[in-house]
């Protein structure tokens, strides 16, 4: 590696840091955080800070943390996730953990981590459904309603 490479690497590192933890507002009061790739301590801290700031900024009550894209959930990753859940709760927001695969779920059980006190759902869609339910919202299909109307 020559000396000219260093700024580029720094730049790329910064870009990756920005890309890796997007916090998306999917609805008023609902934030989504799709995690992709492995979660180390530095990344978890970065994610935590950004998430908490966004919760305060947007006044969101619910955060859907999607770990579909996290290949391996070991004790360290689980601890980071639990820290995120606790910190968000202290601000007054609830974290729904979604996208646990069957392998992840069984790994966690075998590690003795039952994630007590954390609400989990299998997919992002199920998580969003629960979020709407908690906010007292309902999603109905226009077509179904029309059919019901003609029949009833």
């Amino acid at each position: 590696m020559n000396e000219n490479d260093t700024p580029t690497i720094e730049q790329q590192r910064a870009t990756i840091a920005e890309l890796e933890t997007p916090v998306i507002q999917v609805w008023e009061g609902v934030l989504a955080l799709p995690l992709i790739g492995s979660l180390d301590t530095a990344r978890a801290q970065n994610m935590n800070e950004r998430l908490l700031e966004r919760i305060v900024e947007t006044g969101s009550e619910i955060v859907i943390l999607d770990i579909t894209g996290v290949p391996v959930v070991d004790t360290a990753v689980a601890r980071h996730l639990l820290e995120t859940v606790s910190a968000a709760r202290l601000l007054g927001a609830e974290v729904l953990l979604v996208g646990l695969g069957s392998r992840t779920a069984m790994t966690l059980v075998q590690l003795g981590l039952d994630l007590q006190g954390v609400t989990t759902r299998i997919t992002m869609a199920k998580g969003l459904e629960l979020a709407f339910q908690k906010l007292g919202l309902e999603v109905t299909s226009k077509t179904t309603r029309a059919v019901d109307g003609t029949e009833g």
């Binding site: 801290q45 935590n48 800070e49 908490l52 700031e53 919760i55 305060v56 006044g59 969101s60 009550e61 820290e83 606790s86 910190a87 968000a88 709760r89 202290l90 601000l91 007054g92 927001a93 006190g117």
Partner: protein, 121 residues
């Protein structure tokens, strides 16, 4: 001398915790709040931490004790307005305040108290 304000609004005591709360101040606040609860029983206590930017283990524990004490005196405690940095510090200290209810803003905290007292009646 008490440095934080305790304001009674109808059935709720609102505690606005001041910036840079020292150990002594925290203990004074704890005593003042529990005494006030003894004199004027209310259903809810709202602890507003929006001015608090720095927290240590002592303050964290005092806060926890305060909330548990409030519950023993028959009221509900809700902590509101916590700063992100404070939340991260508390979690890193292992003080997750699991037994305390939280809300983002004073308004939401009041809603939460109203809802929980309605359920109880």
């Amino acid at each position: 001398m008490l440095t934080s304000a305790i304001i009674k609004v109808r059935d709720t005591l609102i505690v606005s915790v001041q910036e840079d709360l020292g150990d002594e101040d925290a203990l004074d606040l704890q005593a003042a709040l529990t005494q006030q609860l003894e004199r004027t029983p209310v259903n809810g206590v709202l602890i507003d931490l929006s001015l608090v930017h720095v927290i240590d283990s002592f303050l964290g524990r005092t806060l926890n004790d305060l909330a548990v004490g409030v519950r023993l005196l028959g009221a509900r405690a809700v902590v509101v307005g916590m700063q992100p940095a404070v939340a991260i510090t508390l979690v890193e200290l292992g003080l997750e305040l699991r037994r305390i209810q939280t809300a983002l803003t004073v308004e939401r905290g009041l809603d939460l108290l109203a809802r929980s007292t309605n359920h109880r009646l």
